[in-house]
Amino acid sequence: MDIFLFQFFNLDIMRQALPLILDGAKMTLLLCLAVIPLGLVGGLMVATGSISTSRTSRILTKGYVDFFRAVPPLVLLLVIYSGLPFAGIRLSPFMAVCLAFFLNASSFYGEIFRAGVESVGKGQWEAARSTGLTWMQTYQTVVLPQASRNVLPDLVSNTVEVIKLTSIASVVSFTELLYAADMARSVTYNTSPIVLAAILYLAVLWPVVRLVSRLEHRLGH
């Protein structure tokens, strides 16, 4: 038991690693502030493309969504970060992560928004258009607000996945929370810094995970 506490909950080591880990947490926060809006905006574009009246646009968005939902995010990130330089395109870790997350998150958010838009009844469209609103005005002010509310649990739950996924940025040496913790681990030969990082993830995400369960049960999903 003592060995266990020493290896996983070593308060001395945690205290020493704390400043480094907090710096990492700041970078994770920054990363989230970049990739979540990117994914949401991309998702809206994807959803709009997938309900378009143009057949080409529908086929293209479906191909995009099916492809990027299938590729594991780490594979996508490594292809962008280590593969693109061979084509003369060298991205910083931050830009590589942003691009990979944009491609990945926009296809997941896109599917969620599409389901939301499809859940809004045809009558809403017809009523709004008959009052003289254009297609775009109807879409933005009548359909999207209802659509987003209908799929709120899925949007929140996907956002949790995106936040958790930022941990793979450590693989391309972006100094976020997990990277900082792993650096502290390799210096101290002790697992406590990563446990500390886990505690930070839990502190933020546990309440959200609870909230998602609540929302899902309430809406009878």
Binding site: F8, P72, R185, T191, I194
Partner: protein
């Protein structure tokens, strides 16, 4: 040399494809084995936990709920690193593929428990009461009346979640599991060429595009039909 040739030599060089094909194929075998093992143990453990929870003993349920929440909230890579670097320090040495299998199974079990549990509580209480009043035990009511009704609702979300967790097998590359990505990146650094990386990426696409398509088909097939 034209631009297209240069592009081919950087990303899909025929000699390198031939040289590294066996490595990538062995990576595919490892990925598939771990994925299947994770699906079997993860779903079985998730179902078992949901069944245990249905008995409603508070002392047993509290740890189950904590386990489920923690593994849904933590990034899998964090857990993988804790187990991979932590266990040897305790004197427990398990190979890296076993670490990947164990952690992903626990993650899938947590999500699966939550889904099975939602399915169980979505079956109306009258079904339980009716089944128990005919003299069935809790176990009999559960397995022959409630679960068969619950499973159907669980299929679409379970499929999606199972696919999401099996895609995480790529994380094994971080701890040196010889799966597709690991074979691809080590061959890339050996050859100084992106061809093996592209082969690995293509292998993932070839495996997961059909799986995701199958997932969407199952989702439509089992969709909750609104009356």
């Amino acid at each position: 040399m034209t631009g297209l040739d240069r592009f081919r030599d950087a990303f899909l060089k025929p000699e390198l494809i031939e040289r590294y094909l066996p490595d990538i194929l062995s990576g595919i075998a490892v990925t598939l084995q771990i994925a299947v093992a994770v699906v079997v143990t993860g779903l079985a453990l998730g179902l078992a936990l949901a069944v245990v929870r249905s008995y409603g003993y508070r002392l047993v349920n509290a740890p189950v709920i904590v386990f489920v929440d923690v593994f849904r909230a933590l990034p899998p890579l964090v857990v993988i690193l804790i187990v991979y670097f932590g266990l040897p320090n305790l004197g427990v040495n398990i190979p890296s593929f076993a670490v990947l299998w164990l952690v992903l199974s626990l993650v899938l079990a947590a999500f699966a428990e939550e889904i099975f549990w939602s399915g169980l509580i979505s079956v109306r209480k009258g079904q339980w009461d009716a089944a128990r009043s005919t003299g069935l035990s809790h176990w009999q009511a559960l397995t022959s009346v409630v679960l068969p009704q619950a499973i159907r609702i669980c299929v679409p979300p379970l499929t999606n979640r199972t696919i999401a967790v099996t895609k995480n097998t790529a994380l094994g590359t971080v701890i040196g599991v010889g799966e597709i990505m690991n074979q691809g990146t080590s061959a890339m650094s050996l050859s100084g060429n992106a061809t093996p990386l592209m082969m690995a990426a293509i292998a993932y696409v070839a495996i997961f595009v059909p799986v995701v398509a199958l997932g969407s088909w199952i989702e439509r097939r089992f969709a909750w039909k609104k009356a």
